[in-house]
């Protein structure tokens, strides 16, 4: 069997093809996974901005301020009911209207409690809330308010009574993820 003579140019071309292959493969992988990687990046909460008590901070087209976090009831089974009040002044209505809103309470050990629907009897314990319908964060975002509007936002939480004193509100919005806000609770 005789060896086929390969010209100098063809050998060079083959070498070049071999070296190009890893580059093309890496490029293909990048192009295929780019959207997934971007989506992952925009869905994570990676960089917290600490907001001092009574201060406002900008996030997702609005200025956000914590106006109250109160324990309003303690159930017989060791559950505490907490009400969170926030104020948002809309600056950029388009960015503000992006859903969904993630407003949770976070303990120092990283555990997080999502808002829960509370019975009116639990919500009405606060005299200033009696007869009022305060929108939740997602309801406020979905209401598409105009620039300059000031919104009052309220959420209810159920968590272990022992952790109620050490939790802090955390707010993250799709327009700004992976950055999010962590509010200090006054006093």
């Amino acid at each position: 069997m005789s060896e086929v003579a390969v010209s100098h140019g063809a050998a060079r071309m083959r070498r070049l093809s071999l070296w190009t292959l890893p580059v093309v493969l890496a490029l293909g992988l990048f192009l295929q996974s780019y959207e997934n990687a971007w989506e992952w990046w925009r869905s994570r909460e990676l960089f917290a901005r600490e907001v001092p008590a009574s201060a406002a901070a900008s996030l997702g087209g609005a200025e956000w301020k914590l106006t109250g976090l109160r324990r309003v009831a303690e159930r017989s089974d060791g559950r505490a009911v907490m009400l969170l009040d926030m104020e948002a002044v809309v600056r950029d209505p388009e960015a503000f209207a992006l859903l969904p809103c993630r407003l949770v309470l976070e303990a120092p050990d990283g555990r997080r409690w999502s808002p829960q629907f509370l019975t009116p009897s639990e919500v009405n314990r606060l005299p200033e809330r009696r007869g009022l319908t305060i929108p939740t964060c997602t309801q406020a975002l979905a209401s598409k308010p105009a620039a300059g509007a000031t919104l009052r936002i309220g959420e209810g939480f159920v968590l272990p009574a022992g952790t109620a004193g050490e939790v802090r509100p955390v707010l993250s919005l799709p327009a700004e993820r992976p950055r999010y806000l962590r509010f200090q609770v006054p006093g």
Partner: protein
């Protein structure tokens, strides 16, 4: 000799490799399927978003419970299999709505939807970290699906790249009680 090998051996090895890859490469559904977490009765299993411990399995032919102020009784052509269990969310609030009774033959039964409003039904309310729920999963299964079954617990019915606890249940269970009252079960 080496020339013959190059002509016949190399394509043969390549063909074998390709055939092997085609035969044994797991499918996409398998690669992105549930992540099993195996355990036994009485063992606490800690998954990605929840912990679960199954304590007891009970069988009954009829179940009675109070729902929305009314007394309800349900019977079955098979048998009701009840698993008393404890669920806890960790580290964030979650719902564990994917409980499945897998028989020894591989048949899968989802939790029965015939017990809406029953007390301490697991998988219906959201779990909050630090506030464990003790309650019951209820399945309606044929009698031959009872022995050697496995309880599967996950956040959703078809978890993708997420924990699915697989709790081996006893190989033999006693004869079913003729009637159990869900309001009087010892959950603790």
């Amino acid at each position: 000799m080496s020339g013959v090998f190059a002509k016949l051996g190399a394509p043969l090895i390549a063909a074998l490799l390709l055939a092997g890859m085609q035969r044994f490469t797991p499918g996409y559904a398998e690669i992105t399927g549930p992540i099993p977490l195996k355990g036994d009765l009485g063992e606490t299993l800690t998954g990605r978003g929840f912990t679960v411990r199954a304590d007891k399995v009970l069988l009954a032919e009829k179940l009675r419970f109070k729902a929305y102020g009314r007394e309800v009784e349900r019977d079955t052509g098979g048998v009701f299999a009840l698993v008393i269990a404890r669920l806890d969310a960790q580290p964030v609030s979650t719902t564990v709505s994917g409980a499945i009774w897998r028989s020894a033959q591989g048949a899968r039964f989802v939790a029965s939807p015939r017990f809406q409003g029953a007390p301490r039904l697991l998988g219906t309310d959201r779990l909050e970290p630090g506030l464990p729920q003790r309650g019951v999963f209820i399945f309606e299964v044929p009698r031959e699906a009872v022995a050697g079954a496995t309880l599967l617990v996950a956040a959703s019915r078809w978890p993708r790249l997420d924990t699915q606890a697989e709790i081996a249940l006893p190989a033999t269970l006693g004869t079913p009680a003729s009637l159990l009252d869900l309001n009087e079960l010892a959950y603790e």
